[in-house]
Amino acid sequence: MSVETERSSTESEVSGLDYEETALTLRLPGGTSRVAGSELDRKRGFSETVELGLGSGAPVGTRGVASTDDQSDESPESQASVAEKPPAPKARVVGWPPVRSFRKNVMKSCKLVKVAVDGAPYLRKVDLEAYTGYHQLLTALQEMFSCFTIRNYPDEERKLVDPVNGTEYVPTYEDKEGDWMLVGDVPWKMFVESCKRVRLMKSSEAVNLAPRAQQS
């Protein structure tokens, strides 16, 4: 019994993808427009995630070396200068405790992989360690690209569907050996360990993948 996952995000026009909005950036969409090629645009490696649910408005200036805490981009109020006793729970503050990003990243044991979508000119990065299973990952992908619905087939194949033109995308990944496999074939932990990058491939092109694809 397949369950159609309701689209959680608001409808957006797939064809008119707002590149600026969905391009790799460290701040919430709808912020001040960037000057293309300016220094402030340079992406940082490592700890970037593209989780957009940051809540409060992130000050643009703190886009430097991104702290791995997803709450590190906080509103200026929490950087209050007066040393009053803050209420519990405390709003997190930038750079406190004073631990270098390098160390934070290592301890977080990030497993960042790039996610590409056939036909889209941009990449996203996801932290595989942040998810506990395939469903979570696919849900995140769905939210990320804001335009897919997860469709589960009876034999547990998973596909993402672009609702505007009905194109089906099959999540695939490149493993350590350089082979392209279907996402979902191996146990989750093994997948996390061996996945180098993810590509949402158009179904029509996915026929030559690992044997499982032939079983449907």
Binding site: F46, S81, A83, G95, R103
Partner: protein, 623 residues
């Protein structure tokens, strides 16, 4: 020593209060007591003086200490010239304190450069990206002037691949590149260095932040010359992308002088074993990870690993241990007694897992560890490592409200067991004055005391009092203390004590502390050797800032963020002190804004011969 530069970060020998480098301009306000130096471009000395200078130069060749050299150069014009001719190492603690061309004009025969850029709080995301500290103008000046340059050591600088290319092209004798907490370059630049610096001995990349190259990771390891290399040290644990392991193995095999090797986390134990077999002469090893490469009918690595470590009789320093699988730790037992330095600060170990290792490390002098080992783990350290000089305890979970398993109890153990301790960095959630006092009495040799109670404004967990008494004891009893970081609930009294007793302190780090302007005043007026002062989130205002006017020329820098400063106060400082650069850093500014915000969020001021820098981004306003 290399370790000291990278690990004992701030504790270099900067000049003291009275030792501001001679000014090279004729008209200058005379706050500093070193007096004006000789003007540049005066006529050459008479012949007899030249002979004297030659003799002097021969003598001054032997003078290596920076402080001594600064003193010698201030004696007279002749000594100034001779010293300039014979200086071989250029140390610039703040890249904006002097212009490159000036340094290059004065010192013409430099072989080694140490250059530091961003303020330390940049490590904690307090300095917006793009602030500055570009290496480019420096490397261009050096490239034109110093044909014999052999060594470059940079800390917190922005270094591009182009800069690295200029290094490779400009210095035929280049031997040593050390980059600490730098950013802006990628494996492309590393490949250029590897390929073209044929005499390279040291390539140390320490906690740098490499640029993402998308799909363009360059196989830089393969670019080292195919012949026998002169490599002595190769450290790249911060280069996070995968690399060509086979090429590394071959490189190690043809580098007979290699003593220090620290690989990144793409190396598993099976591979480590192979590397160690190629280089049994290693003294420093960074293991990358410490786990098996996984499954599928591999030979049990434990066997080979044991013999690999057993054969490495020269190892004195071990680090790495990421993603640790503790069942493999027994392999290092044979060499524990030889270790003087052990870095477990990326290994999530319990006290039980640490115990059998640490109990064998009788000769340990430097130990870095995670708080996962708890007070119990620290007790084992205290009971075994009687010779310990440096201890760093990092938080497994670096957030304010985490559960840390180390506390005042662990600190007490350490103080009782490790009497020779010189340097400590201790992250915790709970602390008492009593434990800090105990440490101050038991460890009189302390030079560096950095306590980070992660919860803000936390008092003594038993008495509920502020932590003033503990820090008072530290500054009173530790008479060699030069570096101090404070935390916990602190009143102005704590700063009164610091100002009163902390006469040797050169670096002071303050966060979420103090009550009023008085606190900062005490420090500025009392700590006569203060060089570097960094303050965040403390209620110090314009009055305290202005009270420091007589002292700022004798300091390298002052950083104040999220305090009570305003433009009025900062402008007054700038007005009064022409040789100070006063930077107001604002977050979230992309273009020049018409209206000025009165409150100053971030202030960074530093003495400089170069005046206001020309490369400041829009979010930096120089007053």
């Amino acid at each position: 020593m290399r370790e000291e530069i990278s690990d004992m970060s701030e504790d270099d020998e900067t000049g003291e209060r009275a030792r501001w480098a001679p000014d090279l301009s004729k008209n200058r306000s005379d706050d500093s007591d070193s007096g004006p130096g000789p003007p540049i471009g005066d006529s050459p000395p008479p012949f007899s003086d030249q002979i004297l200078e030659n003799v002097l130069e021969n003598v001054l060749e032997f003078l290596t200490s920076r402080r001594d050299r600064n003193s010698a150069s201030a004696v007279c014009r002749s000594w100034y010239r001779a010293e300039a001719q014979t200086r071989r190492e250029l140390f610039i603690g703040n890249c904006y304190a002097v212009a490159p061309h000036r340094a290059v004009e004065r010192f013409q025969s430099i072989k080694s450069v140490v250059l530091k850029g961003k303020p330390r709080f940049a490590d904690f995301n307090l300095v917006p990206f793009g602030w500055g500290a570009h290496f480019e103008p420096w490397v261009k000046s050096f490239g034109a002037a110093y044909r014999h340059l052999e060594r470059i050591c940079l800390k917190r600088m922005s270094v591009t691949d182009k800069d690295l290319t200029i290094i490779a092209e400009s210095f035929p004798l280049f031997k040593d590149l050390t980059l600490i907490c730098c950013e802006g370059f990628s494996t492309f630049g590393l490949a250029v260095i590897a390929e073209r610096c044929r005499h390279l001995r040291v390539l140390d990349l320490i906690e740098d932040y490499l640029e993402d190259e998308d799909d363009e990771v360059v196989d830089w390891i393969s670019r080292f010359p195919e012949t026998t290399t002169s490599l002595e040290s190769l450290v790249f644990d911060c280069v996070s992308c995968p690399f060509n392991f086979d090429a590394l193995e071959r490189l190690v095999a043809r580098s007979p002088s290699l003593q220090r090797l620290r690989v990144n986390h793409h190396v598993a134990l099976e591979q480590l074993r192979r590397l160690m077999a190629r280089a049994p002469q290693l003294t420093h090893l960074g293991t990358g990870t410490f786990r098996s490469g996984a499954g599928f009918g591999e030979v049990d690595p434990n066997l080979d690993l044991v013999s690999a470590f057993g054969a490495s009789r020269s190892l004195v320093c071990l680090s790495g241990f990421r993603e640790i699988e503790p069942e493999f730790l027994p392999a290092i037992y044979p060499i524990c007694a030889n270790l003087t330095s052990l870095n477990f600060s990326f290994a999530n170990l319990t006290a039980e897992e640490l115990n059998p290792v640490i109990r064998r490390c009788h000769n340990l002098q430097t130990f870095w560890v995670l708080d996962s080992v708890g007070d119990e783990g620290l007790q084992a350290v205290a009971e075994t490592c009687r010779d310990l000089r440096e201890l760093r305890v990092f938080p497994l979970d670096p957030s304010e409200d985490s559960d840390s398993s180390v506390s005042d109890i662990g600190l007490q153990f350490i103080s009782e067991g490790c009497r020779k301790l010189r340097s400590i960095l201790y992250f915790c959630q709970r602390m008492t004055n009593a434990a800090v006092v105990a440490m101050s009495k038991n460890c009189p040799d302390l030079v560096v005391f950095r306590l980070c109670i992660m919860g803000r404004h936390l008092p003594d967990r038993i008495t509920g009092e502020p932590m003033d008494a503990g820090f008072r004891a530290i500054v009173m009893n530790c008479k060699k203390l030069t570096r101090l970081s404070v935390s916990g609930l602190l009143t102005d009294k704590a700063f009164e004590y610091i100002g009163c007793y902390g006469k040797l302190i050169r670096t002071l780090s303050v966060a979420f502390a103090g009550d009023s302007d008085g606190g900062l005043r005490y420090v500025l007026e009392g700590c006569t050797r203060l060089q570097k002062l960094e303050i965040r989130d403390s209620p110090f205002g314009d009055a305290s800032l202005i009270s420091g006017l007589p002292f700022y020329y004798n300091m390298r820098f002052l950083w104040m963020s999220s305090c009570n400063l305003s433009m009025r106060g900062c402008k007054e400082v700038a007005r009064n002190k022409p040789n100070l650069v006063v930077e107001v850093i604002r977050d979230g500014v992309e273009e020049e804004e018409e209206e000025e915000i009165e409150a100053v969020e971030k202030l960074y001021l530093y003495r400089s011969l170069a005046g206001a820098r020309t490369d400041a981004p829009a979010f930096v306003k120089i007053l």
